[in-house]
Amino acid sequence: MKLLAACLAMVISSLSSLAISSGFAEHAHSHLAPGSEEGPVANYQDLSPSDRSSVTRDDHIPIEVKVDYTPSASEDVTFYTQVSVDGRNYQKNVFESTAIPAGQLTASEDIKFFVYVPSHKHMYVSVHGWAVGKRTHRVWDFLNIRHTYVVVASSHDSWWVRGILRFLGFCS
């Protein structure tokens, strides 16, 4: 009975995180498009680990993303990058830049968010990047992607513990 309840809880948890992530994506895409009227630009690249990678249960892994910023020429801008794991938002990385003529400032950040791998079969990581103009309060949306990782048992666990964890739905 307890086993059935645990499995049911796992399924509900996975479904709810999926729903939260999807809703977040829809909300983010409703903002304005970047690059209009000499607006700021943030190019995101090299998001790692790559989609469908395996991650170890109960571990801390770095979610790494590289961003190239191009500030606005007309107003001060705050760039945000946020990671959420299974719907739980981590603290935002913030980069503020003042208005500067095009080509006078080149900035890039290699951001590593260290996140905890929960005990689920899959781990859903969303990375959201956007910017807000300080004067006009306009929102530029640059990135909103979601990666799915396969959670595996730790190699330090014995074979029978791994079997139980798999059976209970704590890893794939």
């Binding site: 603290q91 980069f95 503020e96 003042t98 080509g103 890039s108 290699d110 590593k112 968010f113 260290f114």
Partner: protein
């Protein structure tokens, strides 16, 4: 021109004026009977006045300043820790960021400062080189001995910097070489770039801060032309609003200092 020479010149001018006044006074004190000067007296007075030349620029020249006693030189007009306006970082909890920044600014960049510092060092004798090397380990130098070379953390006039260069044992030619090198670096749009990692992995709170660095403003005067130049020290630091330094993994500017 040395300061005592200028002072003696001014004294000479004052004496000459007093002499001219003494010469002119009897003429004024002996007018004609009807209170008017005769034509002969007037001509004599005009002749005397024409002979008495008053060199105003020399009389009113400041012993220190552009166009003054020190015609070619450097004055430190401002010195201190400056904030690089333009960017601000907030590193979230359990994370780290590696920053690459490249800004075009009207400053003498740390790379140029390193070259200038090496030039000055090469002009010093061995005993002064040891002292010069020690300066770069102080906080106020910002990682470059050049910043302690002129004033060591305070504003300094042309005379002060001149005396300071004399105390380093530099000849007039060598001093001129340094001023020339600084003049070449002025008024160019330079790339200010740095690279560094801010490590906040072990903390459950976010840290935010701006980039700070030692800045020195100078006025360089050379042959009647004066130029303002801002010089940035090689070792910037990332500091929060409360003044605490953010935990950088390595000093910024790796391999350039």
């Amino acid at each position: 021109m040395p300061a005592d020479t200028i002072v003696s010149n001014i004294d000479a001018e004052i004496e000459r004026l007093q002499e001219a006044k003494r010469t002119l006074s009897p003429t004024r004190s002996t007018p004609s009977k009807n209170g008017k000067m005769s034509a002969v007296q007037r001509t004599a007075l005009l002749n005397r006045r024409l002979q008495t030349t008053v060199d105003l620029p020399r009389l009113f020249s400041a012993p220190d300043g552009p166009g003054g006693a020190v015609s070619d030189g450097v004055a430190v007009t401002a010195y201190g820790q400056g904030q690089l306006s333009g960017v601000m970082f907030t590193v979230p909890a359990f994370s780290e960021i590696t920053v690459d920044l490249d800004i075009k600014m009207m400053v003498v960049t740390p790379a140029d400062v390193v070259e200038l510092s090496a030039l000055i060092r090469s002009l010093l004798d061995a005993s002064h080189q040891a002292i010069y090397d020690e300066i770069q380990h102080t906080d106020i130098s910002g990682g470059a001995s050049f910043f302690g070379f002129f004033s060591f953390g305070a504003s300094a006039s042309y005379s002060d910097t001149k005396r300071r260069m004399d105390s380093w044992g530099l000849s007039e030619t060598n001093q001129q070489t340094i001023v020339n090198a600084m003049m070449k670096l002025a008024n160019t749009l330079n790339d200010f770039s740095y690279h560094g990692t801010i490590f906040n992995r072990d903390h459950d709170f976010s840290v935010s801060g701006n980039l700070f660095g030692i800045v020195m403003d100078c006025t360089i005067t050379q042959q009647q032309s004066s130029t303002q130049v801002r010089i940035l020290a090689p070792l910037p630091s990332v500091k929060g609003t409360d003044g605490t330094s953010l935990p950088t993994v390595d000093p910024l500017y790796p391999g350039k200092v």
